[in-house]
Symmetry: C2
Subunit: 349 residues, 2 copies
């Protein structure tokens, strides 16, 4: 077993406090004694103060937790999630904090336990689905600070995000401006049963995932403004947020009923999948995405840019040194519609 601080103290013949000070407060003891302590410590193979014990006594850990609601390993396959993580990492390393990535079991009880057991000073909660509420309650129950990125900030919560609805609307307005009226909307798991392909959604408000709901609502807003009702829009659900699932979602024969001229996807990944599928089928529709990930530009995808790295950076900042002004606790980031070649005028019917 590795020696402890106590062992070093005994070996040198000083009190434990003094050894502790040799590491943490060099000004509290003479240089020679400190050197002697450090030397014998090295000689004995003492690895320095135990981080866990130190954390317990000091009351803070030096790490922030990052919570993804989907499986942790999936998160890395999502380019936008990786952008977010990059930003969080930037702030964290600037601040000298570590990042604890906590895998959340699928069951609610397991997820709660995972959040309760994480040794962290606070949490960044990324893109929560409907289970987010319970997770946040658990964090709050621990009395830890947290930052949300979901689309529904509560008044006192720290939050960084975008106006999902307006952003989505801007993409849709681009299409209505080009004359599109018969379109399909595509999102990841629109309804709990995660049917792939066309789904019936009586009302946008029924969509459980808040971000998806907001984006679909934004799309709907733009079409409502030109007289196209929600019921006239085709809603497509993908099995998950992946390129393959995006392609698969538009394959069923009823997915893109004949007069359809455009597909609005809730993420770039899905949109790229749609482009793959359309190319394969030799069909040409207008397609829009959401996020503006790196692959969007080379693919010519028209999309809504949201600053992912900055989102992560600001989220971690909000956690690590929170602003005093309460109105600075919620950060609204701008989005931009980036028009590329994947969209064009609707063919005249």
């Amino acid at each position: 077993m590795k020696p402890t601080l106590r062992a070093v103290a005994e070996a040198v013949g000083v009190s434990r406090s003094t050894v502790s000070n040799a590491y943490g407060r060099p000004d509290q003891l003479s240089t020679e004694l400190r050197q002697r302590i450090l030397d014998t410590a090295r000689k004995m193979g003492y690895p320095g103060p135990n981080p866990t014990a130190r954390s317990l006594r000091r009351g803070f850990v030096g790490a922030i937790g990052v919570l993804f609601t989907s499986r942790l390993s999936y998160a890395f396959t999502d380019p936008f999630a990786v952008q977010f993580l990059t930003g969080v990492a930037e702030s964290a390393e600037l601040h000298g904090s570590s990042l604890l990535l906590v895998p959340l079991p699928a069951d609610a009880a397991g997820a709660r336990k995972a959040v309760e057991n994480a040794a962290v000073d606070g949490f960044c909660v990324y893109c929560g689905g409907d289970e987010e509420g319970e997770i946040i309650d658990t964090i709050r129950g621990r009395g830890l600070p947290f930052v949300t990125t979901s689309s529904r900030p509560r008044a006192q919560d720290r939050w960084v995000g975008i106006d999902e609805r307006a952003a989505a609307r801007s993409a849709a307005e681009h299409l209505t401006g080009l004359g599109h009226r018969r379109v399909a909307l595509l999102a990841d798991s629109v309804l709990p049963d995660t049917a792939a392909g066309r789904v019936r959604v009586p009302d946008v408000a029924d969509v459980p995932h808040p971000t998806t709901r907001e984006r679909l609502a934004g799309f709907a807003d733009a079409f409502a403004a030109v007289g196209v009702a929600w019921s006239e829009l085709t809603v497509l659900s993908a099995a998950d947020n992946s390129r393959a699932a995006g392609a698969a979602a538009v394959l069923p024969p009823d997915a893109l009923p004949e007069p359809t001229t455009a597909v609005l996807a809730c993420s770039d990944v899905l949109a790229l999948g749609v482009l793959d599928a359309l190319r394969g089928a030799g069909r040409r529709l207008s397609v829009t995405g959401f996020d503006d990930i790196a692959e969007a530009a080379p693919a010519g995808l028209t999309t809504v840019l949201q600053p992912g790295v900055e989102k992560g950076r600001r989220a971690a900042e909000l956690l690590l040194d929170p602003p005093v002004a309460p109105d600075a606790q919620q950060i609204l980031l701008p989005t931009t519609l980036v028009v590329r070649t994947s969209t064009g005028p609707a063919p005249r019917s």
Copy 2:
């Protein structure tokens, strides 16, 4: 302040042990008492046992550390690193462990401190440069288990990796087979001074970064076999491992001296940058990469595939439940040469 276990014990009128058992060992007390404890705990707002205190007493943390030698936020911009991380995350969530990403300061002392202060049960050390040795010594000093992925495993260390030299050689042999004799080799920061563009390297053994050294040596092997000496090879250094840096490295006029017909890059990211630059310059050379990241296929890049996700997965497995057999502690993964359109026969001179 949130109540502690002690407060709950006093409120219920039982000992601390019993409350502890209510959470950790339900079979050690009657169902009714347990329920009563849990109920009052909830009522009092007790968030459950403090993870740090629990870790201290139990002697393990439930998290594994991941160490990137480059800046943590850079790691996420490197597709291969993300693949590795994905694999690590897969194993970790299967095992119920969290992942602690520890940012390493650039200075050796700071890096040592960061490793010493990380509350983890073990480390995955990803792709170490020459500073890796000191980091591993620090981990060993703490008495923690670790897994390396660098190209130089020591006999008793747990390791998962590939035969870097042979893999690189396979790419180079593909080119020699196509008749290429005058080529340039491209790597990230070949020499400490990180000059971008052509560098003079008297001997491959002088390259400090072990992985880079092995790969360059593998390239050299193949060319030596057809009578092209190390001194006849152009060595190019990129500022970092990014697409832009790859492009920038081949731009200087002396980078690709006239008879040059091919560029062998030590990573796909660099190779893609080279392709960008060549396309921009209207020049056509054969180019090979290394890793086979997702972008390689659409770009038609000939490259050496190494299984990144599996590398991460196996690394974490090796850490989380180590095999008993000592010879199973070192895992050599296979690589495959993937020939695409970025390479072709050398033009006759």
